[in-house]
């Protein structure tokens, strides 16, 4: 709650190419700069590979591929946004959020700020031109100088429905 009593939400923002996206920070487990990824041959295109997170294997998904951008090379700024699993969320009582049953992470080109916005700044996502990726976005946040698209992590992680 802020001073005016409007509920607030916090988003972690990141870049895919030149576009800024956000993800509910409550779904993020950690952000990792270690990007030693083993490619998984024959997997769907959005699966960049697997990585070792302190003994656990994380499947790395490229949200950009899901959103229709061309594949990008790994850069110095590339980060992995490791997500909480559904059971992590449930044990924290965050039952209205959902991600995935197994450990997964998003491959992003650059991490930006964590923003705090009030509910009234959040609007439903406008329909995409192609209409294909509508369900991947949960909302848009209108800031003074830019629009941030908020992704729905569980939809991004559900590969079966578009591929």
């Amino acid at each position: 709650m802020n001073a005016t009593g409007t509920p607030e939400r916090r988003y972690c923002t990141f870049y895919l190419g030149d576009e800024c996206y956000g993800i509910d920070i409550l779904t993020v487990r950690e952000i990792n700069r270690q990007v030693q990824i083993t490619p998984a041959r024959g997997a769907p295109a959005a699966v960049r590979g697997l990585m070792n997170l302190r003994g656990q294997i994380v499947t790395v998904i490229d949200p950009a591929v899901r959103l229709g951008y061309p594949a990008r090379e790994q850069k110095k700024s590339t980060r992995l946004v490791i997500l909480k699993t559904n059971s992590d969320l449930a044990s924290l009582g965050l039952n209205d959020l959902s991600t995935n049953d197994e450990l997964a992470g998003f491959w992003v080109d650059r991490i930006s700020d964590v923003i705090t916005v009030s509910e009234d700044q959040i609007a439903p996502a406008p329909p995409d031109q192609s209409g294909k990726n509508d369900h991947l976005l949960a909302a848009v946040v209108q800031l003074k100088d830019q629009v941030i698209r908020i992704v729905d992590p569980s939809a991004l992680l559900r590969l079966g429905d578009t591929e």
């Binding site: 041959r41 769907p44 003994g55 294997i57």
Partner: protein
């Protein structure tokens, strides 16, 4: 209602454990036929705890059922009722129903078990007396007595009593001569007799109209005949007259005549004496019948049929029986010294231990060159502690296989009941420990194997007696350690598996060709039961045998990194042996790489590793596929880079390594760039994003912390679309196309062929005129000789086994080969079932070992003993002469 999910889940776990403890005790009491106060108390306490917790949690259905069970158990515990084996059934059903209800928690409790509760309550109200009307409860003493008489082959008949006392007495006196009275408390107007005579015969014998007698039948839905004997298992008649008819000495009319005479006679003569007096039987015949009768009576002394409940004498309560129960009790107490830890926590600990090992390795590398005093000993200590910790954490996942074996007695009991078989199950080795996940994954295959053993393996009781076996079939389940692995055996003493029938079934299903079937050894033929869709069960029962099964069992076992093998002897039984790794989590693997990407291949799948110096030398092409010629076999080749679409950098390589992999029954070669070490890897389940691929068996973290995929040999073969059949065919055909190579000084080209799996023959290629592939219709018989119709000519054929002391092959196959030797003025063919290879060899036949007309000698070729044929000697020995060419 308390709806705390944690409380509910704890309740479910605990209750299931209570039930798990109660069930074997109940089964044990049912088997012994007597109650055991300690066991009853234990069962009571288990149900009582469930009831209490269920009431607290507001679980009405579970509470009601456990209450009903508890009421019965309480009376048993207090000695108010005596335990009877038939009581086990409703109690077991109650346990099943509780399990079902617990299983549907936390969502809801599932359907209430009202009928069962009512039956249990009724049972308690009747004072624990089983009653035929209650679906749950077996017969009252009268019905039991009737059932007993029917089991002996007698007719149980109700006779109306006449009103007059004198008539009544005369009737009873007459009845006493033909049967035995079955006491029926409270009945005054009729009496029930068990007699060897059918109803009309009895009426005739006692001189009353047959409509005054009625047969007393078993209650239709009562428990008495709940498990009717299969027709062929009905006991043989035990009475003299009936045996005489059975043996064909009398017909039915003669038997009636004797009975009539017996009735008319004032002297109480026996049936045999009357028949002899009438001249219907000779003394010898009577003696034969008496002998048969004695035998049958002796047979009838066999222990009571398990489905008929009956009180056992006290003496049966053997002391070791109560020991067994005591032991289980103390086992229950031992368990109390443990605490429950969630599996996720253990998995986490295991991951962390893995990380610790990794950290240690990195530290060791960093400090290797250190000159700081003391570093070395600190490192060593760290080393030791880390390793030990990892081992101990692994051990926490181990469970005694008892948790699985304990379910087996119930399973076998239920199957045996349904099939009308008697089975004694012997379980040993419950203490052997295995990784928990392996034990869980074993449940289905074990269930399947036990079903098979009881259903298909064991004969029905009568069949067993005929074969001179005990009526009670034996099934044993054993677990033990062997060379670092765990072996589990399921063995029965039933009919065994007939290799010929399995072969026939496999050929009919098209799983193998008739040629292949003929070449199979008995052991290999029996192993065909692991092929999909094969079942030799003549009929499908509802217990097992729909032709899906053993292949699934094998797949399950293989998925666990295990192997399964079968051995069987007709008439003696079947044994299935499973070899399992101690733990699923760690498997030895070969690490390979392509373009720097590393992959792990489980050692279990690796047959051998071949280094190719020059690819052109050993790699050939069959149509579009590459094959590797390895010791005379053509193996399909898969290039891992190509298969997984890994982009090649730089020019093609000249050197390569081939890992020969086993995929089901086939071998193939996987071409990789580099071979690395063999590593013990910790297998992590494959991500759901990758499980659709099918060519990964999982993933693992290698020593340097990088993730590597584990390749699945079967999946890779599928992805590469290897056509094993085509290559095998082509391999055989190559013999035909092989060009006669210019004979080197020593080396010559040989055609190697075989007719059976274990005998090989060779002929120098240059001694051959032609090699023909022949179809069965091309062969004609003249007398005992075979002739090949070929290009308008008729060529006599020779089977090797007709001339040489060798095993038969199969020109019965639809297609085979004929070798036509290059001989002056003589055209004849030698039959070969399979061309193994054509190869260059400097092997010279040695005449000293094997010596026979038609044989040039023997030599070792490709590690196999191979017989060289002497064509002209062979044809001569076969009686084909040079001038007979037609």
């Amino acid at each position: 209602l308390v709806s705390d999910p944690a409380l509910i889940s704890e309740f479910v776990t605990e209750s299931l454990e209570h039930l798990e403890r109660a069930e074997p005790l109940l089964l044990e009491m049912e088997k012994r036929g007597t109650g055991d106060p300690a066991a009853v108390n234990e069962i009571f306490r288990a149900i009582h705890s469930i009831k209490g917790a269920a009431g607290f949690l507001g679980l009405a259905n579970i509470s009601a059922l456990s209450h009903a069970l508890e009421s019965l158990l309480m009376r048993l515990r207090d000695g108010e009722f005596d335990f009877r084996p038939a009581m086990a059934d409703p109690l077991l059903r109650g346990i099943d129903a509780l399990r079902r209800m617990l299983g549907s928690l936390p969502d809801d409790e599932g359907e209430p078990a009202d009928a069962l509760c009512a039956a249990l309550t009724a049972l308690v109200e009747r004072g624990g007396v089983m009653n035929a009307a209650g679906a749950e409860t077996p017969a009252d003493p009268f019905q039991q007595a009737c059932a007993e008489q029917r089991r002996k082959g007698k007719h149980v008949v109700r006779v109306a009593l006449p009103a007059k006392k004198r008539d009544r007495e005369r009737l009873l006196e007459a009845l006493g001569r033909y049967g035995e009275r079955v006491e029926e408390p409270g009945e005054k107007r009729s009496v029930v007799y068990a007699s060897p005579l059918e109803l009309d015969l009895l009426a005739e014998a006692i001189g009353v109209p047959s409509d005054s007698l009625t047969e007393v039948r078993a209650p239709v839905d009562g428990a008495v005949d709940e498990f009717p004997l299969p027709d062929d298992a009905r006991p043989l008649p035990l009475y003299f007259g009936q045996i005489a008819v059975d043996l064909g000495f009398l017909n039915d009319e003669q038997r009636r005549e004797v009975l009539r005479a017996q009735r008319g006679s004032l002297l109480r003569r026996s049936f045999s004496a009357t028949a002899i007096a009438l001249g219907i039987l000779t003394v010898e015949q009577a003696e034969a019948i008496a002998a048969a009768q004695a035998q049958r009576l002796a047979d009838a002394e066999l222990p009571a049929h398990p489905f008929e409940e009956e009180e056992r004498p006290e003496a049966v309560r053997a002391p070791e029986g109560s020991d067994a129960i005591d032991e289980q009790m103390s086992g229950a107490e031992r368990r109390a010294e443990t605490i429950r830890v969630s599996l996720t926590l253990l998995d986490k600990l295991m991951n962390l231990a893995g990380e610790l090992v990794l950290g240690r390795n990195q530290m060791r590398q960093l400090l290797e060159g250190s000159t700081q005093p003391g570093v070395k000993s600190v490192l060593q200590n760290l080393d030791l502690v880390t390793t030990e910790m990892q081992e101990n954490i692994m051990n926490t996942r181990m469970q005694p296989i008892r948790v699985l074996f304990d379910r087996m007695p119930r399973l076998v009991r239920d199957i045996a009941h349904r099939l009308g078989k008697r089975v004694e199950l012997e379980v040993t080795g419950g203490d052997v420990e295995l990784d928990r996940s392996i034990i869980e994954a074993l449940a289905d295959p074990m269930t399947h194997m036990l079903r098979n053993a009881v259903d298909h393996g064991l004969e029905d009781p009568k069949g067993r007696v005929v074969l001179g076996k005990s009526e009670v079939g034996r099934v044993s389940v054993r677990a033990y350690h062997e060379r670092g692995r765990v072996v589990i055996e399921v063995q029965d003493d039933g009919r065994g598996i007939d290799p010929e029938r399995v072969k026939e079934a496999a050929v009919q299903r098209g799983a193998i060709t008739r040629d292949q079937a003929q070449a199979l050894s008995e052991k290999d033929a029996v192993a065909l039961i692991f092929q999909p869709g094969l079942s030799t069960a003549t009929e499908i029962s509802d217990v097992s045998g729909r032709g899906v099964g053993m292949d699934v069992v094998r797949t399950n076992i293989q998925n666990l990194g295990g192997q399964i093998e079968v051995s069987s002897a007709i008439g003696e039984g079947t044994r299935l042996r499973i070899h399992l790794p101690l733990t699923l989590a760690i498997i030895p693997s070969l690490i390979v790489s392509v373009e720097g990407e590393r992959f792990a291949i489980p050692q279990l799948n690796v047959v051998e590793v071949v280094r190719l110096k020059r690819e052109g030398e050993q790699v050939e092409r069959i149509r579009s596929s590459e094959v590797l010629r390895l010791r005379g076999d053509l193996l399909p080749l898969v290039r891992l880079a190509q298969c997984l679409e890994i982009r090649r950098s730089g020019e093609a390589r000249t050197r390569a390594n081939v890992v020969i992999l086993r995929s089901g029954a086939h071998l193939y070669g996987l071409v990789v760039d580099e071979l690395h070490d063999s590593e013990e890897i910790v297998v992590k389940p494959v991500s759901t994003y990758l499980s659709d691929c099918g060519w990964y068996a999982g993933a693992t973290i290698l020593g340097d912390g990088r993730v590597a995929m584990i390749l699945d040999a079967l999946g890779i073969a599928k992805r590469a679309q290897i056509r094993f059949d085509e290559i095998a065919d082509e391999g055989a055909r190559r013999g035909e196309h092989a060009e006669p190579a210019a004979p080197a000084a020593e080396r010559r080209s040989l055609v190697v062929f075989s007719n059976s799996a274990d005998e090989r023959f060779a002929m120098p290629l240059r001694e051959l005129l032609r090699l023909e592939r022949v179809e069965k219709p091309q062969v004609e018989w003249v007398g005992s000789r075979r002739f090949l119709k070929h290009r308008g000519r008729t060529i006599p054929l020779v089977r090797l086994e007709d001339v040489l002391p060798v095993r038969g092959g199969g020109e019965e196959a639809d297609e085979f080969f004929v070798l036509i030797p290059r001989l002056e003025g003589l055209e004849a063919g030698i039959i070969a079932t399979r061309i193994v290879d054509t190869l260059e060899s400097d092997a010279q036949p040695d005449r000293s070992q094997l010596h026979a007309p038609g044989l040039a000698g023997s030599a070792i070729i490709e590690d196999r003993l191979t017989l060289f044929l002497d064509a002209s000697g062979l044809l001569e020995a076969a009686g084909i002469e040079r001038t007979t060419a037609t």
